[in-house]
């Protein structure tokens, strides 16, 4: 598709915030992240659930906030980053 683009577009980035102790480990955010940037943590939170954590390469979040919308526990949210820090 590059020939359509005059200027190179950089995909948006998001910072993932997790309020670990609110998580009940339903896995919605992990399963339905379109970029698959989340995985289940091996650690327990204070209530005995496994909250999500980022996969190794955390650059992949595009800040779509679907995780934040689908989370039943208000335990995850995204802040969009203005510029890429390449």
């Amino acid at each position: 598709m590059k020939y359509w683009v005059k200027k190179e577009l950089k995909p948006p980035h998001g910072k993932v915030y997790i309020i670990e102790d609110r998580c009940k480990g339903c896995g919605f955010c992990i399963e339905f992240c379109p970029q698959q940037v989340l995985q289940e943590s091996e650690e327990f939170n204070s209530r005995g659930y496994h909250p999500p954590k980022l996969v190794e390469n955390d650059k992949k979040c595009i800040g779509c906030s679907f995780c934040s919308l689908v989370c039943p526990e208000f335990a995850i949210y995204i802040e969009k980053e203005e510029e890429n820090e390449d």
Partner: protein
């Protein structure tokens, strides 16, 4: 590394001192509450004039988590309570959020009559196919053949198609989504909130603890994957063609969006006759 979050952007809309909520892991109710608050964030509604009314059941607890004037009423009677609230103070934006059993079994009569009168309110029904709080009994939307604690051999009752009921009763806005359609659900709720008259949004949501595990979907995630596999978006379809059957496709979308005078407008007209 992910960052330790402290203050969720929606916390200002929540009674954050009551979070975590009582709902089970994998329950879709939190997602609906989340979608509702995101929708609210995108409207111009003055929170001071927003009132949430709910009935009894798991969904009935939703009112208690939203940091606005909120009323947790009796089983089935959220809509008439909300009717009184709205008619007494027309400035209020009144939203009823309750479950399928509360709104369509014990409260079914109130639903059809409020829709018929076109009372200016938004009704959001979280349909999880069963009575969750009492342990998973047959509800008015339980699909045929489903197992519940009171249909141990499979459900032999025909369920309601809630959107069809809403449409047939006169609702001016009717939409259905599943909890998986988080963004579209949010958009529909926003449209409903901005709509004048009786607007209705049905959200099909997981109940792993009492419905799912008896029906081969033991986790909320299983149910969400099922929604992903079975849902088909058909905007504008006649709601009567959107029945829900076990294993069949789940038709979602915006089905109805019409205009007609509301009860509140008619009342105001009547009062103006005496107060010119």
């Amino acid at each position: 590394m992910e960052i330790e979050g402290e203050h969720h952007p929606l916390d200002e809309y929540l009674r954050a001192d009551r979070i975590p909520h009582i709902w089970c892991p994998g329950c879709g109710l939190g997602t609906v509450l989340n979608g509702f608050l995101h929708a609210l964030e995108e409207t111009d509604i003055d929170l001071k004039n927003l009132a949430i009314v709910s009935g009894i059941g798991c969904t009935g607890r939703i009112a208690g988590y939203i940091n606005v004037d909120s009323y947790h009423t009796t089983h089935g009677r959220a809509i008439p309570f909300a009717t009184g609230l709205k008619l007494a103070n027309p400035k209020l934006k009144v939203v009823v959020i309750s479950g399928d059993g509360d709104l369509f079994a014990i409260g079914g009569n109130h639903f059809i009559h409020a829709a018929r009168r076109n009372i200016d309110m938004t009704v959001i029904c979280v349909n999880n196919y069963n009575y969750g709080m009492t342990g998973g009994q047959l509800g008015p939307t339980t699909p045929l053949e489903s197992k519940t604690t009171t249909t141990p051999y499979g459900n032999i009752e025909h369920p309601f198609n809630l959107c069809h009921v809403a449409h047939a009763s006169g609702a001016v806005y009717v939409a259905r989504w599943t909890a998986l359609h988080a963004r579209r659900m949010k958009d529909s709720i926003k449209e409903a909130l901005n709509k004048k008259g009786f607007s209705f949004v049905e959200i099909i949501a997981s109940c792993p603890t009492t419905y799912g595990r008896r029906n081969k979907m033991p986790t909320g995630l299983d149910t969400m994957k099922y929604y992903k596999e079975k849902s088909v978006i058909k905007h504008g379809i006649e709601p009567e063609k959107a029945d829900i059957e076990i294993g069949g496709e789940i038709i979602v979308g915006k089905f109805v969006d019409i205009e007609k005078p509301t009860f509140n407008e008619e009342v105001e007209k009547l009062i103006r006759r005496f107060h010119k």
